[in-house]
């Protein structure tokens, strides 16, 4: 993190000032020697989802709650939209930031509509505007306003309650959402759906979101950037999910990512990110002997058979070439053609299906570009994490 936002290093990033900044923020609870958050500097860019993730007790929730001053910092400054809000009216500040908590905390004695209207009502919006906004938000979060508007929270399932929780947080159109393990208490299937819907929502809304979770998978899925925190909210690494997974800063991060980190990388990286290899290319017109010679000279067990328009048809090995059968009738046809936009995880599953350990990559018009092999994935997966751990 660069303390000087005008610094040349940030040119490729947004040059705009961060939406929220924590400057040297420390929180020490009375009667406790160790601060819960110590000298934290954190910039949150406008429109990004920044995920705070770390083991329990690392201070990630405290950090989140320092932003809307649910917890008052012992020292340091909180800057919001370029304005120092460390000593401003906390209630006014909170009305400008949506806040979603794990337990949702809907008012049980208020209808869904009344729950969503809390902040707009505090801000004295006219009744018509509130009503329209409530319906809009219910639609947005996938709840039929005519069904749910006048219901009470006890009639909702956990997943529905958190939808309303998100709708309520968005009530008065805040630029910022603070989410404290919002999907933590929801069953895995519903959580998966809510995460996807939330990402879809965010792609339209472009809010600035600070998202706390203890689940690294959720962090990788939700975050534009991830801050991995250790004790006292010290930032162990702050970067994009991809960068963290492929290049963890130290042993703590490696430990925290766990053994699954390598596989998670596959979901983040795309075929266009890796170097494709080029086994011998043959067509029906290539002479068998010629093809066999090409194959022997290469390091590859298979050659790729292309048709007249350079579309890949099948993998061909020495045995196919020796036999007299037609080359495109062998068992290693290429039914699935990957494109550079596909993830490495998809590439891996295709390789496992076709038994050739290779997958052909084509461009938009179906023309052959190159091949991804299981070896190239293995290199990618084994090399970098090892490097990172040895740092």
């Amino acid at each position: 993190m660069n303390p000087n936002p005008q610094g040349p290093q940030l040119e490729e990033n947004k040059v705009t000032t961060p939406k929220i900044s924590l400057r040297n923020v420390t929180k020490t609870y009375s009667g406790v020697d160790q601060p819960a958050v110590k000298d934290l500097d954190l910039d949150i860019a406008s429109g990004e989802i920044l995920v705070l993730v770390g083991p329990s007790g690392c201070g990630k929730s405290t950090t989140l709650r320092l932003i809307n001053r649910m917890i008052e910092p012992s020292s340091g400054e909180i800057i919001f939209d370029g304005e120092n809000v460390t000593n401003s009216d906390p209630n006014e500040l909170r009305r400008r930031m949506g806040y979603v908590i794990q337990q949702v905390g809907l008012f049980p004695h208020r209808t869904i509509a009344e729950n969503i209207a809390v902040v707009p009502k505090s801000l004295k919006w006219p009744k018509d505007r509130i009503r329209a906004r409530v319906d809009e938000l219910l639609e947005l979060t996938g709840m039929d306003p005519n069904v749910y508007r006048d219901r009470y929270p006890k009639e909702l399932s956990g997943g529905q309650a958190q939808r309303v929780g998100v709708a309520r947080a968005l009530g008065a159109e805040p630029d910022v959402l603070l989410m404290d393990e919002p999907f933590g208490a929801i069953d895995p299937i519903t959580r998966f759906n809510l995460q996807n819907e939330f990402l879809r929502l965010q792609s339209e809304l472009k809010k600035t979101i600070v998202f706390v979770t203890h689940d690294i998978d959720e962090a990788v899925k939700m975050g534009d950037r991830i801050a991995i925190l250790r004790d006292q909210s010290e930032i162990a690494q702050l970067d994009t999910p991809e960068a963290i997974l492929t290049n963890p800063a130290d042993a703590f991060v490696v430990d925290f990512l766990g053994s699954g980190a390598v596989l998670k990388t596959l979901t983040l990286r795309r075929l266009r990110d890796i170097q494709l290899v080029h086994p011998p290319e043959i067509t029906e017109q290539t002479g068998r002997a010629d093809a066999a010679a090409q194959l022997r000279q290469s390091d590859f067990p298979y050659a790729v058979l292309l048709d007249d328009t350079r579309r890949p048809i099948a993998w061909v090995d020495q045995k196919n070439l020796d036999s007299s059968d037609s080359l495109d009738s062998n068992s290693r046809r290429i039914p699935v053609k990957l494109q550079p936009e596909d993830t490495l995880q998809e590439a891996l599953s295709v390789m496992l299906q076709t038994s050739a350990g290779m997958s052909a990559v084509v461009d938009g018009s179906g023309q052959y570009l190159g091949t991804c092999t299981i070896q190239s994935l293995a290199e990618l997966l084994t090399d970098q994490p090892v490097d990172g751990a040895s740092l």
């Binding site: 809307n68 909170r94 806040y99 905390g105 809907l106 004695h109 505090s122 997943g159 529905q160 069953d187």
Partner: protein, 260 residues
């Protein structure tokens, strides 16, 4: 999908129990009221009234005594509400001195005193009269309302208050919009208890010149007229049931919608 109830809070259970009890009350109380009223009518019609009994049970006199009983019970209940609820709110505020438990203990001791003794103490301090009775009864019935106010406010799901705070509601708004409405069922339970205590204890008001149906009962005891004792006691019971019924109605209709 309702298996994952995010806001499930076992502490809300007492409130739920209160609710079902109060609904049953609204049927049971009138039934008892009618039964006792029939009993009273039967006693009144079929007993032999001698001169003394007739003079004790003179309807005008009974009416006055009943009014005194109701007045004393009503005002002491009002006083209890006015004192105990704000006190309960005060001691449950964030950062309030930790005197909550001490307060409940002290008032608990007060309630352990015989009601008679308490009346005498107040008599010594404030002299004769209705006001003294009202004060003494209020002191005696303070505890249930205070305790239920504290319990009622503390059983409110913390995450709901947290969410309110996170939406920029200040302390007073959280109290008014979240905590008090959600505590109403429990607080009302305490008020009903206090009311019954007050109606019953008002029977002792005659001891220090507060009037009430205690006069009739005491006269019956002294002059050995069981019928007057029975009539006095039945009238007290009818007043108590009427008060409790009103309390039950209030508990039902003041209860916020949306609570299970």
């Amino acid at each position: 999908m309702s298996t994952t109830n995010v806001v499930d809070n076992p502490e809300t259970l007492p409130a739920r129990r209160n609710q079902s009890v109060s609904q049953l009350d609204l049927i049971v109380i009138p039934v008892f009221f009618v039964l006792l009223a029939i009993l009273l009518t039967v006693v009144w019609i079929y007993s032999d009234f001698d001169g003394t009994t007739t003079s004790i049970l003179e309807p005008d006199r009974l009416w006055t005594q009943a009014q005194e009983q109701i007045t004393v019970a009503l005002w002491s209940t009002v006083l209890v509400i006015v004192l105990a609820i704000p006190l309960g709110i005060l001691v449950t505020r964030e950062g309030a001195p930790r005197l909550k438990n001490n307060l409940v203990t002290v008032l608990g001791l007060g309630q352990a005193l015989p009601a008679y003794g308490l009346l005498v103490l107040f008599f010594v301090a404030f002299g004769q009269g209705t006001l003294t009775v009202v004060l003494a009864l209020a002191a005696f019935a303070l505890l249930p309302v205070l305790r239920n106010t504290i319990v009622g406010l503390e059983q409110v799901d913390k995450s709901v208050i947290e969410a309110g705070k996170g939406m920029g509601l200040n302390g007073f708004q959280r109290l008014r919009k979240i905590e008090l409405p959600l505590a109403v069922p429990v607080i009302m339970g305490g008020i009903r208890t206090a009311t019954i205590i007050n109606v019953g204890m008002a029977t002792l008001a005659y001891l220090i010149g507060g009037g009430g149906l205690g006069i009739t009962i005491a006269a019956g005891l002294k002059l050995n007229r069981p019928v007057t004792i029975l009539v006095g006691a039945l009238l007290v019971a009818l007043i108590a049931l009427a008060f409790d019924f009103i309390g039950g109605l209030a508990q039902r209709y003041l209860r916020p919608k949306g609570l299970s």
